[in-house]
Symmetry: D3
Subunit: 338 residues, 6 copies
């Protein structure tokens, strides 16, 4: 792999300041909050940067000490921030109370009207940004934030398609967003149309597929149908997660490439350090895997990377390719390395 | 439930400052201690206040910055402190070293001669305090602290009985207390005599029952006998706890109402965040449950509330009714709620 | 046991400052590091001091505030530091990132050229130090550090042999050390020759035994052979560890005294607080056990002590004899002791 | 003073979560933020509650864990929160970087569109709230937040006037607020019209006075003119502050009652612990002073209270009446009290 | 000085756990407390140990993890704890809120009935303890704690006198102690009778001197008179302190040896880090000074040592002889030393 | 200034991990250390990056998590790290105890044999690195570290001279370094020969000047003579610092350009937050000043920047050009900016 030039991946989306009381305290108990920064797409960039790729994240921040600090966080974690845009309005925030055992974690968002939500297509020169990229990644959160963000994302995908840059999309969205008056299905379907690699649960596909669903089929059935409907899609990827408790999960990845289903090992994960961003770690692992391996290995790489994220505090996966490969040898021991 | 006026519960007992090294450190290792405040009965008030009831705690503190801080803690957690008494002497304390896995937690008390232990019946106007109450709760710790405290507690129960306020008592006590020269059995039996709802293990009932015990019967046998002896008791409640380790317990509640035994689900709890006060969370859950539900639901509610407490740092349960109800649907997943 | 005079144990080896980010953070995430001090042999002294023995550690530190702080750490934890030597050069360090679940812990050493590595035999008066000792303990790390350290260790063993002081050695070493140009086998074999009690895995014995190994035998076979080769050895001890994950291990000790194999209970340990120094806790438990009990009990004591160490932050075991004995009664519950 | 019944003061305004890196760190350096809650008017209530008065703060919070935590902060600090309103939208925030020496502190607000800014007059029953009050206090921040807040404030003042409740107003505002399209002068002049006691700098009076100012006169001239224009005003109060540096200030209060100018001592304050909210501490001291003393003493009390606030971390003054009186005896020594 | 054998100093008195919120927070604000240990006499031992002397502290602790931790603190700071006595009852505590600027620090004691207060003369073998000592130091706090403590102290002084060990006493006491029914003057006068070196303010001498004081004389007058009355006294030492504020003091020492008055430099100390224990640092400096220098130098050494203590967090002075000597050269610069 | 392209500055030197106990604690007291990274030249790059320039630092780190973390620190603070070299050996460290008032700060270095000290000229392509640079900065620390570092630095200066890049050097060194057997004067004189702008005290010039010094002249005399001897030097800059105490300094800058002496304001700085790296902040301010202003302004800018650094925790100045300009207007107030 050393002989290959470092691949370049571009991601696009909001980055929020995350404020979270120490340990598993609630805000009712807390006199301080740990600060980190995250967002579904930026988390993918951070994780890929730690695995050694060039990762460039595009976003918009307020032109103040908070927006700068958010950029500094990305720079700290090796992300290329050359295309960050600064402007008016404020930084998106989210407040996380971490749960434990059978007590749920709680997130309160304060991202409405943020600098990112005010982004407009003419603020970003996608041709310039993507000209040397190998991959572009988006998620279903971005188009839900605002019409401007959705338009920007559409523009990015269109440009990537034109430049031959592979496009992946994690199409999971949240219905609590989407408050700018457009039909999510319309927006999302247009974006999926330009996407090569889709991460989606059966629930997600159900939401955006057009075909009449007389009865709910298997993942393979549904994914095959989805690929038929959106012709550009080459693979559909998902992971199964069993939540024994908030501190104990089991996960297993699966990839359908239209012909074969590849499944990863199942990992038993306990006690969980930080559950946030594990899906983004999966996406990053998948992108890294597909850039360097065949499908069978790619899904294994994605799932192992996702597993390791559960042991990392914060939104993003900070592990090396080497650590993932070590887990893939079956070494679950976590023994001290000297 | 929204249509019901908020119920009012009154509790009575000592509140101590709890000093505990961060994490699982010992005092030999520690250069600081986390401060919180707790006591078996006040913990019940805090938990009920979080579930939306009016909870009023009666106690006595020194008239200094420490006594004030203890009161502020109760106010912070929604408890009505209008009837807190300030006076001389000092604040009761306890020093907690949290264990882990197979290492035990250690508690050292420094409560002897505290302001609370000097309380006298004429300092409290129970008729005023209980006049709009629905429930009064006491535990076996209070009468063990001092003769004054025992007399005050007896006075409260008598007044409650007169005013038609339901009385619950967690009759578990500690023999290491009780150093003022009276026979615990005499004191306790008088208090149990005025109690409607009793939380007691078989061991506890054994201690205070009068009947000759030729051989140890079942929980139902013993509870039935106990109810016969103390005619006011309507239900006896207990929970079974299996301590796999200090970090891993299993619990299950049971309620005998003289005719039927109701049992809750068994919960598997790991890794435990804070084991202290889980019995008080159970008592609070029970009181809430009995004020709003039938017996079968009440014991389920109590056990679920107790389960959630294991995930909360500090002495008291800080969870909402909603969180308990969610667990009662069988959702053990602890998934992030946004 | 109270009637016995307190036994005296002497240990010898490097003590390093340990720098470790809070929780399970990496240095890439951290803005501070927790400081403690440790080293395989000093950890044994600390553990024995907590169990009530006289424990004296011999080492060499720089004559500055860091060397003093390291000494103060040992004094704090009851170790006799009368024979610590101060001199030039610097303090050995190690940087620990604690892993979790399937993510490995990472250690980076900066101990090359430390004050300890510059120790020379004429700096230490072993006859004076060992004159009232009952036991001397060394590990395979010390001779690997430098030729001076190896010579010092050899001198200590020789003196102990002469004075009738029992010698134990944990012969596990690390090949990444040993960079002063001598053959580890030669050095180690000379030290083992003066050792009465050996802690060794089959892998370790393999490394230092002379006999041709046509095929790998059982632990008993190998230990018997090892005892034949090194005539002074009276017992060979090891523990089996199953690493389910970095947060969950199972351990079980075994002791071969040339005639009988004694095995301890197996302990299920989760979630692990600190994995470092658990082998040293085992060694300390073994020494304590052998000084006060028969073989069958000694190996049980060692394994229970080692189990408890997994719940203690830092390099050394800080538990009392009483806590170990409590675990040996089979009480795994970790219940609060008041 | 003991013979007087406790006076009741009502305040009205936004309470924000304050997020501030530890010590004098910037957000570029910080991985956590200390959390407290504050707002110009609530700070006055907290300070008065510590001095022993009944203080009731009226505001509006989001109905989530953050709004609850803000309320709990006020309860913790003895404020009556019975009239807090919960509703939609989010909690106002401000991000504080504390400066030092000649480096300025920096504040970034994220309060736009907050729950408080959406308050409407019909949400508050001022007649109920003020019926037993002795004093109502407002500041120039509240009407600047939104039209609803301004209307609510106007309603409160009108009701207070009708009920004979004394009204004080700190008329300092910030022009960076006021973005809802009304002329600040119009709004403010209407509010000042109903105000008895005004805290205002010459700059502030300049802004809202109507009279033609051919040339800038003295504080007495200007205050006299202001009192002529707004007939209800009985006193105008201000303090002079010399900022030697961000860590070292000198302050001195002055009060013009239309006939006499009373001045306080000048205090030399270094090194400043927290500069935020010192004006609110002055206002609270003034209200307390005027409720219990003559003018000459009131301005001394206000200035001494303000001085002490500089030694308190957070937005609000947490000192007792006793501490202020001690400073007023001229005891600047800060000696330990046992 | 290297040629002199290390001098040995013995001190006697209570050691308390000190609990103090971080920074200048109050208990009303705090969720944790920093832990350290201190007591007037033990602070002297710690300071002398840092200056290179043998310092041995005699006290009594509860036989639990708190008493052990207090001992470990003394060991950590180089004090000889061989003669610490363990027994029943509890550890004395004090709660410190650190003030700032013109806000006073506040101390609340919880030491009544502590293990130390229960000490009895037959628990301590002073002949054994003092046999190789050069100096014994006591303060006016110890006899105030309990009759047993006073008797123990008297016994120590008598033994020291017999063995030719120099006795110093800081005779400042607190009238809030002394609650065991004896007249402080009687107790104190007996102790002063056996004392060679007295640290006392004019106020203190006033309290214990017998002579009729028609009018208050100078320090020299009063000290001369005191020395006449208590024939053993060879020197009377005091320091003048000007408290500009709680953060800014000026100090200057003076020593009257019956013939000459020696004064130190005056030091300007700002901003003060920790004011507690500065008198003990002065006493320790004086003892060190008198053991190694003439009077003129001794008082300079004492004052410089005391000055440095103001920059050290905690009760005791942790500076080396070298640091004091550096200050005595007139180098006030505090420049970085590499 | 907006119209100018961003200037590019290159710096070269060792970056160490700095470990420093919280607040003003000593290592004897500390259980943790704050981590930051710094080095005289890298501090200049960080400061310039915050002022908006392109700053590129060249150094060598170990290829492990510590070397990566050091790089991440520089990236975080906007420095271009494209030319960082990774290799063997270890990270240089320094241990800082911060003093206060009259107590000195203490630094212990552990940098011997570090990765940086092993740098060799052929590892760096200066022509590539400097090709678009405007300025190159070095200090007297770098050549003192090792022969390789000195040779690298000489190579850099030579290349800069060739490419017309301005060279500045802070020629202060430390004699405790320089342990590789060469005469510091020889090495230093060669480097000074290629330097355009020299920061030097009279003491420093004395050390490296050749001319016979019959008697010590003024700064102007000495600087003029120095410029005569080293023909390339265009300006000599220094600052006068009066250390009232470790917490209180006064500074004033001066610049001699061969014809005129320009002096800055004198700043009174108290209480100092962090004294380390203030000289580097001065150098950075000077470089920024000279790139954008005339001499008279440049020395004012440098001194103001240096002043602000005293309020910033860590080695490097993190203030904006705007903050410096604000101070230069004479606004010393440190008032809150909103």
């Amino acid at each position: 792999m050393e002989s290959l030039a470092k691949k370049k991946v571009v991601t696009f989306g909001e980055v929020m300041m995350r404020l979270s009381p120490p340990g598993v305290a609630t805000f009712a108990q807390a006199q301080s909050a740990d600060i980190t920064y995250g967002g579904g797409e930026a988390n993918v960039s951070v994780a890929l940067a730690y695995m050694g790729l060039q990762a460039c994240h595009v976003t918009r921040f307020p032109d103040n000490n908070l927006g700068k600090a958010a950029t500094q966080f990305l720079r700290h974690h090796w992300v290329d921030t050359s295309y960050v845009i600064y402007g008016d309005h404020h930084l998106g925030l989210y407040f996380l109370e971490k749960g434990a055992i059978h007590r749920s974690s709680q997130i309160v968002y304060q991202r409405e009207g943020s600098s990112f939500s005010k982004i407009q297509p003419d603020m970003v020169d996608w041709t310039e940004i993507l000209k040397e990229a190998d991959w572009f990644h988006w998620t279903g959160i971005t188009p839900a934030v605002s019409q401007g963000a959705a338009a920007c994302c559409a523009q990015a995908i269109k440009t990537a398609n034109k430049l031959g840059v592979t496009v992946s999309g994690d199409i999971h969205s949240r219905s609590s967003l989407w408050n700018y008056g457009k039909d999510p299905r319309d927006i999302m379907r247009a974006l999926i149309d330009g996407t090569d690699i889709v991460i989606a649960s059966q629930f997600d596909m159900d939401k955006y597929a057009d075909a009449v669903k007389s009865e709910k089929g298997s993942f393979i059935d549904q994914a095959s149908q989805f690929m038929k409907e959106f012709g550009r899609i080459k693979k559909v990827i998902d992971k199964d997660r069993i939540s024994v408790s908030g501190s104990h999960n089991r996960i297993k990845g699966k990839l359908w490439n239209g012909q074969q289903l590849f499944e990863s090992e199942e990992y038993d994960i306990t006690p969980i350090v930080d559950r946030v961003g594990t899906g983004d770690a999966f996406a990053a692992g998948l992108i890294y895997g597909m850039l360097h391996h065949e499908d069978a290995e790619a899904i294994r790489f994605a799932t192992a990377a996702c597993t390791l994220k559960h042991s990392i505090e914060g939104d993003a996966n900070l592990v090396s390719e080497k650590a993932v490969l070590k887990l893939l040898t079956g070494d679950l021991s976590g023994k001290i390395q000297r």
